[in-house]
Amino acid sequence: MAGPTFGTMTQQGVRWTAEQVLALAPDAASRKAGSKLGAAGPWSEAGSSDEGTVWGLCKGSGSKPYQTVIDVADAGGPAYKCSCPSRKFPCKHALGLLLLWAGDEALVPRAQAPDWAEQWLAGRRRRAEARRTTTGAASGAASGDPEAARRRAERRAERITAGAAELEQRLADLLRGGLAGAEQAGYGLWEETAARMVDAQAPGLAARVRELGAVPGSGADWPVRLLEECALLHLLDQGWLRRERLPDGLAATVRSRVGLPGSPDGPPVRDRWLVLAQYDTVDARLTTRRIWLYGAESGRTALLLSYGAAGRAPELALPVGLAFEAEVSAYPGAGQLRSTLGERFTAPAPAAIRPPGVTPAEAAARYGEALRDDPWLDSVPVTLARVIPAPDGDSWQLADADGDLALPLTPSARSRPGLWRLVALSGGAPVTVFGECGHRGFTPLTAWPEREGEAVGLC
């Protein structure tokens, strides 16, 4: 079979770094297992093509080696195929092969793809073509009977309204008896209420209620935090109950905070997007991945969310510090940065783009302004320019190199290993730091040295 000539592929350019490869790993165990396979030993007939395909045979425990092939340059993100039985995605063989490819060009030389790899690629491209031609037609048909959908939405809204009213009652009971009693009540009370909110199909309310349970055990000043969170929950309930009277943008924000699924109906913005940060938060049910993007032309910051069921990595993975051209559409709601990734036109590649930065004072003001559109906001994404990490008692802060103001780090950011990478990168000199700035302080996520240099991930 001849080399690929389809028009959808893009020139693949530079190989990735090991860190960028490892960021694709679904969990720590895969990262470890993949690292072990990132050496020539078990691999044979490995090769890569200019179009961004990497393939190889990996010797496993059986007699037949696994066939692993990865399409790195696919505009929809890297795609993997491996003949191993693993349910992890990507599997350790795909990670190992990418590490090998990233680490040593001689071990994964330019070559002609073998038939088995070529077949898979051809199939993928055929399906991609088919999707492209049918999307336009399908989007209308998929929504089904509009009348039925409207009735479903109405029924759900009624349930949520009942849930919000019930929650209001619980909050009122709590404040009538006093927060002091909440310390003894413990998690049980909140877990039960959260379950009621799940029944009411208001996952946003349920998540907030569940978090209330942890506040009494969270150290000094917990009554202050509990009152704040109760008050904001009350505000959300009231917002929902009176959503008809709110301006459209705020009403959309309330709907999304309550947990109604929105659809990214903003106009697609085509731009060169720099991947600012990617990090996962894990709870018993769900792994949530947040990816921050910065658009070089539009100057917009966008948040991509992607979920994985417990123990499985979210599918979307983008290497920090690289940029790619793509369309991004925003979700509805005032002050909402959540977006969805549409068509991608190029594969992520190194770029000299850096987001413009502000001072600590401007960052704090930016958070305050953002609360106007969304009072439930915990933090906003901000890039700080010319700040110096400085120790401040048990904690650290990011101090304005040209002023006398500083943003303290959030308590959780103090204990992360990324803090020391940031301090080391700075060496007492100003750095540029991207992170989340909110009422708990600043969480650094990525940093750049003052002079030229690559982005250093901190999460």
Binding site: L226, L227, A364, Y367
Partner: protein, 539 residues
């Protein structure tokens, strides 16, 4: 609200305090402030609290900045090439602990870190700042890595170590750390630090001076010698080991009369390593009286008459009178005398014979092992290659592998006195004759990368071990060494060995597969080392 500071005491702040108090006690006990008519008290409280919460958050202001750390010293070294920086991140990411178990055919990256650091240091590259925390963590867990890791890490690592207690070790290990050694030309500061400093600071100071001006260090030590505590005297005396010179003799002679036995023993040991010293001459006299050539026998033979007593003079010269349990005291004394005797004195005493001829002489009455062991210790202490060579003998003689007079550990020490070429030649000969089972310690003293002859000997011996049907993990120590020490260009020759061989009848089941895996790992590691080296060759 512990993140950003709130505006100081204002009417709003006291209003918030009031809301918190009411919330804590409950609206049943406390009236909610500002309750509008017809409103439920809890709802009114929550309304007010929501307004206050958003108001407080929106009004947050940055904190005044704390004292900033003084900037780290510039690192003038050129930055690492891109590929090498990526490689370093990979080596550092491979921490032991997680995973574990069988390594399969993947290389042990952490074991390559020492080599990588040595190469990077030889080429004078600066460490990428963001890699310093991982580098310091690695050095914290492995003391053997510290010197090279800290050299590579450079000034910014010391700067970091002052900010993180986990990395304090870096300050202790590095000169110019917390125990700042002053400019040695500043006589006043030196003297003050010597007189008032903490013990660790004083040891560091003494060692620093000894390295530059041996005589000045001795004089400094003499100036306070009489008032030092016994255990401190011992440590200080030990630091004279570096740069030992004839001028130290009179001071060391006086230390032979020290109150502390350990100090006396150390002084005697140092003196015996100076062939021209009076102590060495006294020892030579004593030992010489115990060993002689008997010409009355059919062949010239060494006869040994060990000392009958350990007199006060011997004790003063560091001979320990009391033998350890299970050893005859006369042979114990003899061993100490011979060990402290200059090896050069034997040839004149024993008929002008060369070391080889002396070692070859038969020894009467089973004294051979005792005598040869003592000479070996002397050859190591006095770093005498001539005698080492004689005592090591030809590597291929059968006795060389046996549990003879000279243990493997002793032999490794003897080898260390020879130059690198001779060392690896001897070990190659040893392995060719005796295989790998006893070779681990000996290989450990050979220069890295191994010479072609030594590398070939090891690979051939591994091949023979495989054909003999044993399992590779019987040789895991040597395999590990080979991964780190074989010249990377040997990889090509090894390729043929990575195939799984037909299973022989008498072989251990499955051994062939494990061997091919072990050889694969070896080849992979060698390739990786070659790549590592290439990456570190600028630009």
């Amino acid at each position: 609200m512990n993140g950003i500071t709130t505006p100081p005491e204002t009417p709003d702040a006291s209003r918030w305090e009031e809301l918190v108090t009411v919330a804590l006690l409950g609206t049943d006990r406390r009236p909610a402030p500002g309750l509008a008519a017809g409103q439920e008290a809890p709802a009114a409280l929550l309304d007010a609290a929501a307004v206050e919460t958003v108001r407080r958050r929106a009004g947050l202001r940055p904190a005044p900045s704390a004292a900033r750390p003084a900037p780290a010293a510039e690192d003038p070294r050129p930055p690492l090439p891109y590929a090498a920086a990526r490689r370093l991140a990979m080596l550092l990411a491979d921490r032991p602990g997680a995973g574990g178990g069988r390594r399969g055919s993947a290389p042990d990256l952490m074991e390559l870190l020492p080599q990588w650091l040595a190469l990077a240091n030889a080429r004078g590259f600066a460490a990428p700042p963001e890699a310093l925390p991982a580098l310091l963590d690695a050095a914290r867990g492995r003391t053997d890595l510290r010197p090279a890791a800290l050299t590579f890490a450079g000034p910014r690592a010391l700067w970091l170590a002052r900010l993180n207690p986990d990395w304090r070790f870096a300050l202790r290990a590095a000169p110019g750390g917390s125990s700042d050694v002053p400019d040695l030309r500043d006589a006043d500061r030196v003297r003050r630090l010597w007189q008032e400093g903490l013990f660790a600071e004083r040891v560091a100071l003494l060692s620093a001076i000894r390295a530059q001006e041996p005589a000045a260090a001795r004089e400094l030590l003499e100036s306070t010698w009489a008032t030092e505590r016994a255990e401190d005297r011992l440590m200080f005396l030990d630091s004279l080991r570096t740069g030992l010179q004839a001028e130290d003799e009179s001071f060391l002679e006086r230390a032979l009369a020290d109150r502390s036995r350990n100090v006396r023993a150390t002084a005697a040991e140092l003196l015996s390593a100076m062939p021209g010293s009076a102590l060495a001459a006294r020892m030579a006299g004593r030992a010489g009286a115990c060993v002689a050539v008997d010409h009355t026998r059919t062949a010239p033979t060494l006869v040994v008459e060990p000392p009958h007593e350990c007199d006060a003079g011997m004790e003063r010269d560091g001979v320990v009178a009391k033998a350890p349990a299970g050893r005859g005291e006369r042979s114990w004394w003899l061993g100490q005398l011979v060990e402290a005797t200059p090896l050069g004195s034997w040839s004149p005493r024993l008929g002008g014979r060369t070391p080889e001829e002396i070692v070859a002489l038969p020894v009467a009455d089973d004294w051979r092992d005792e005598l040869h062991a003592a000479w070996s210790r002397a050859a190591v202490r006095q770093r005498d290659p001539g005698w080492s060579r004689a005592l090591l003998g030809t590597p291929s003689i059968p006795e060389a592998a046996g549990p003879g007079a000279v243990s493997l550990a002793e032999r490794a020490k003897l080898l260390a006195t020879l130059d690198a070429d001779e060392r690896s030649e001897w070990v190659a000969g040893f392995i060719a004759a005796h295989g790998l089972s006893e070779s681990f310690q000996l290989l450990g003293v050979c220069a890295v990368p191994w010479s072609p002859a030594l590398g070939r000997a090891v690979v051939d011996a591994l091949n023979i071990a495989r054909d003999a049907g044993s399992y590779p993990w019987s040789f895991s120590g040597v395999m590990g060494l080979a991964e780190r020490c074989l010249e990377p260009s040997e990889a090509a020759r090894l390729n043929a060995l990575t195939a799984t061989p037909e299973e022989a009848e008498d072989a251990s089941p499955g051994a062939g597969g494990y061997w091919s895996e072990a050889f694969q790992r070896l080849v992979t590691t060698l390739r990786l080392r070659a790549v590592m080296r290439e990456e570190l060759t600028s630009p």
